[in-house]
């Protein structure tokens, strides 16, 4: 590709789309390169209740689609192709994808996070046959069945509540004796008669024949083992940073998240990180869009300082 973009955004979730929106409005030539489809994790969420401006719950897919339309309205180019490597050290940076090489004056990393797997026997074998990482996608296949949700954070609790629409019974398996989720969601969960929490338990094995039939659980305190008969197991045990960051020269923390300052600058000039892939305390849609805005404005300033306002360098 001959174009040298002003801003190239890697990842098309809320953070990346907002960066695109602000870059477009700053009259910068911007593109988003997304590995899958637009929207990021938001697309997996059935209903979003905590995004300001929507007094009624909005579906994640619709919110994502609106964000894409809004970015497109300001002329952001969208490409769908997994990124293979990042060459960020030069003044002009390169993003290598399956579709080819993109060049840009600034790069905003918005690759988000991917769900962690449990890493126990049976998990991989039964993906699509009872093991799931997306309740909105697969919940309906477990009508009147018994299912387990593994995890104790916001996602686990929210998805356990969602699954009660279909499942006969939902077991929430958590390795601690209290939840980390939002208080309002915890209250809903503990009041829901279809949900039974199993505290201080971890999944040691997922069992089945042609599909999942149960779980071998282990008590973290006593070490005692038990069997839980379920037809489905939904895993929400945390996330890890996504994208080909290793070897890119971007400074990461010990867990692999990108370290930035409050202007979203990484250790490499002209390279920014936004959203869930950035090291930060709270990962929410609102904090992601916040990052996206700041990074685009920081990038605009950087371009003006380092490339001049009127330089035509396409």
């Amino acid at each position: 590709m001959d174009t040298v973009y002003d801003v190239l955004i890697v990842g098309g979730g809320p953070a990346g789309l907002t960066a695109g929106l602000y870059a477009g409005r700053a009259m910068l030539q911007a593109a988003i390169v997304e590995a899958r489809g637009p929207g990021g994790q938001v697309v997996l969420t059935h209903e979003i209740e905590n995004y300001p401006g929507f007094s009624e719950p909005i579906s994640g897919a619709l919110l994502a689609a609106n964000m894409v339309d809004q970015a497109n309205r300001f002329g952001v180019d969208m490409y769908y192709s997994p990124v293979e490597s990042l060459n960020l050290q030069g003044k002009i940076k390169e993003v290598v994808t399956e579709q080819g090489k993109f060049r840009a004056k600034t790069v905003i990393i918005a690759t988000g996070v991917n769900p962690k797997m449990l890493g126990v026997p049976g998990e991989k074998e039964f993906i699509g046959r009872g093991v799931s990482y997306c309740a909105t996608c697969d919940g309906a296949f477990f009508r009147d069945r018994d299912v387990a949700v593994v995890g104790g954070g916001d996602t686990a609790v929210k998805e356990a509540l969602f699954l009660t629409r279909f499942a006969r019974r939902v077991w929430l398996i958590h390795r601690r004796d209290s939840l980390r989720a939002e208080q309002i969601q915890q209250k809903r969960l503990l009041e829901n008669t279809k949900i039974t929490p199993l505290w201080n338990k971890v999944v040691a094995e997922i069992r089945g024949d042609t599909r999942v039939t149960g779980l071998r659980l282990q008590d973290v305190q006593s070490g005692e083992e038990s069997h839980l008969a379920v037809q489905g197991v939904f895993v929400f045990v945390g996330r890890q940073p996504g994208g080909p960051l290793a070897g890119s020269g971007i400074a990461l923390d010990e867990e692999g998240y990108i370290i930035t300052d409050e202007d979203m600058c990484t250790n490499i000039p002209g390279v920014y990180a936004v959203g869930d892939v950035r090291r930060k305390r709270w990962r929410q849609i609102v904090t992601a869009v916040n990052d996206g805005c700041i990074a685009a404005l920081s990038a605009a300033e950087y371009i003006e300082e380092n490339f001049g306002k009127d330089e035509d360098d396409d």
Binding site: A35, R36, G37, G39, V43, L44, H46, G60, A61, A64, Y80, P82, E98, I127, G128, R129, G130, S132, Y133, C134, T136, C137, D138, A140, F141, F142, T210, R211, G232
Partner: protein, 105 residues
């Protein structure tokens, strides 16, 4: 060619088809299924007549979904000679999907 297939014409369109048929089990409420749709269009363009693509809406075609044991969507199944020769669950990038299909063309 991408075609919507139902219980009524599944036999004819998929099982009795001469060449391989990629069946996409999907639903409107499934976010990752929406991500798969444009990939399938690209695969269709790239592989042309050597592959037929059929879409089965699991909401409307519960029986088919049950028959093939669908418990997670998107699920893509490649049929050849009336039999399932390849299954993928979840989003697949185009390159990986084509690599899975190619040996069966």
């Amino acid at each position: 060619m991408i075609k919507n297939v139902t219980q009524a014409d599944f036999e004819q369109e998929v099982l009795q088809a001469e060449g391989p048929v990629l069946v996409d089990f999907w639903a409107a409420w499934c976010g990752p299924c929406r991500m798969v749709a444009p990939v399938l269009e690209e695969v269709d363009q790239e592989l042309g007549d050597s592959l037929k693509i059929a879409k089965v809406n699991v909401d409307e075609e519960g029986e088919l979904a049950q028959k093939y044991g669908i418990m997670s969507i998107p699920t893509l199944m490649l049929f050849k000679g009336g039999r399932v020769v390849e299954t993928t669950v979840g989003f697949q990038p185009k390159k990986e999907l084509i690599a899975r299909i190619q040996p069966h063309l």
